[in-house]
């Protein structure tokens, strides 16, 4: 590369370079089972994406709902599709 930034390890492998593109973790949050939440303070970047992961089981049953969500500004809102059959949900917000 003619200009920019590179970080290399002791074996001279490039770890990070400004030729890369990646997604940076901005925020994580866990919504409890069967509960709606509003998480505040989510950093803003020009482009963001949300991933979510179902945690545990509800009543020993895999037939469960995951939280719905919306991301607006610094708020991540988690909604409950079912009042008694929504798993805990782990949210990750990435940005670039």
């Amino acid at each position: 590369m003619a200009y920019g930034f590179e970080s290399r390890d002791a074996s001279n492998n490039v770890i990070y370079s400004t030729l890369d593109s990646t997604w940076t973790l901005l925020h994580t949050a866990t919504a409890n089972a069967n509960q709606a939440h509003t998480f505040t303070g989510v950093p803003v970047m020009p482009t963001r994406l949300v991933t979510k992961l179902m945690l545990d089981q509800v009543n020993g049953d895999d037939e469960a709902f995951v939280h719905g969500h919306s991301l607006s500004g610094t708020n991540l809102t988690a909604s409950v599709p079912s009042a008694n059959n929504t798993t805990a949900t782990f949210f990750m917000v990435f940005g670039k």
Partner: protein, 373 residues
């Protein structure tokens, strides 16, 4: 940011920001065991009811449930981000996906569903995938956070003095992202095939994911895409007959009826394929996680008319009612088989002939295993 370090690429996209807790590699999850949901097979027959079909359909092949564990530094640490590095890619590779993540002390247990081939009576397992796991530095165990004697690289700290990035600890480098969905249904074609209904999924969706780095093939790729959607499908068959049982003064008319119900519980899983040097394909489909077959027979010997009426009633109260079927199986000893299989108890009965969480976007993230090997 008022102070600190922020590095952007030529597209002005942020690569490193000292304010944020970047994910770093904490190792491959430790393989624990492979199991699968046992066959939920049960039913009764009467003296004259058909004896056919007292088996699972050959196409009801439950996938492998592969258990892994990975440590974090406390009982309150969030789950790690686990990328699946499949053992093979391409259109004939098994589908796989993370179907359960649960805490176990300061560790997390992760269960991956991977499809099996063959038939119910003779299934074939595939080589299990590896899970490459990532966590913020603040949730690493001391061994995961160890940099040894290495003094090369770059580290950043936030305003609280906590380290947020360390190039010696292999930060996560995402090379592609794409939002995808599950199909609306697992199988749209008819399942009817006598007492061997066909449950093989025939619906899937393909998504092309543009990579930020060029690759000759997909063998080095790994993906993050938790399974959110699941689906149930069912098929029922009703048979009946009547006749006269001749046995002297004890001769009688009889009528019998039997209703069979098969179901499959599917989870959304994924398959990686190579398209070209800058594109990978993700196939999103349902594959069988649990399945069952129950049947119930009734017979009436009072009179032909009474027997037919009883059979009709049996159809009305059993054949058309999943609630009755559910209660029938839930009270049987079969459910205890979950415990012996080392799985959380569950009935896995069909809630309906449909899907849940199907409309939820799953964001697929791609990375390369060779960055961390």
């Amino acid at each position: 940011m008022a102070y600190g370090l922020q590095i952007t690429n030529n597209s002005n996209e942020i690569l490193i920001d000292s304010d944020f807790a970047h994910y770093h590699y904490i190792g491959k999850a430790t393989y624990v065991s492979t199991t699968h949901i046992p066959n939920l097979l049960d039913g009764n027959n009467t003296q004259h009811s058909t004896q056919q079909g007292q088996h699972m359909s050959p196409s009801q092949v439950n996938g492998d449930v592969i258990k892994y564990t990975i440590a974090t530094n406390s009982t309150s640490s969030p789950p790690p981000m686990c990328f699946i590095k499949p053992a093979s890619t391409g259109s004939s590779a098994p589908h796989c996906g993370i179907v359960l993540t649960k805490r176990s002390g300061s560790s997390w247990e992760i269960q991956v569903l991977q499809t099996r081939g063959g038939t119910n009576a003779s299934p074939n397992s595939s080589t299990r995938p590896n899970l490459y796991c990532f966590s913020p530095l603040s949730h690493m165990t001391s061994s995961q956070a160890s940099v040894g004697s290495s003094t090369y690289g770059l580290a950043t700290f936030n305003s609280s003095g906590s380290k947020t990035f360390d190039s010696r600890l292999k930060p996560l480098k995402v090379i592609g992202a794409q939002a995808i969905n599950a199909p609306s249904i697992a199988r749209s074609a008819s399942k009817a095939n006598g007492f061997s209904p066909v449950f093989t999924p025939d619906q899937s969706s393909n998504y092309n994911v543009t990579r930020y780095v060029s690759e000759a093939n997909s063998s080095d790729l790994m993906f993050y895409a938790p399974s959110l959607a699941h689906a149930c499908q069912q098929h029922s068959v009703s048979t009946d007959g009547d006749g006269f049982q001749s046995q002297g003064y004890s001769s009688f008319f009889y009528a019998w009826a039997r209703t069979d119900l098969w179901w499959c519980f599917y989870r959304n899983v994924f398959q990686l394929s190579h398209v070209n040097s800058s594109t990978a394909k993700v196939n999103s489909a349902y594959r069988i996680y649990a399945s069952g077959h129950v049947w119930k027979s009734v017979q009436d010997n009072n009179s032909l008319l009474a027997a037919i009426a009883a059979a009709a009633l049996a159809f009305a109260t059993f054949g058309a009612s999943l609630v009755v079927v559910g209660a029938f199986v839930a009270t049987s000893a079969i459910t205890s088989a979950f415990t012996s299989a080392g799985l959380a108890s569950g009935t896995y009965l069909p809630y309906s002939d449909g899907a849940r969480n199907q409309g939820e976007n799953v964001t697929v993230l791609l990375s390369k295993a060779s960055y961390y090997d």
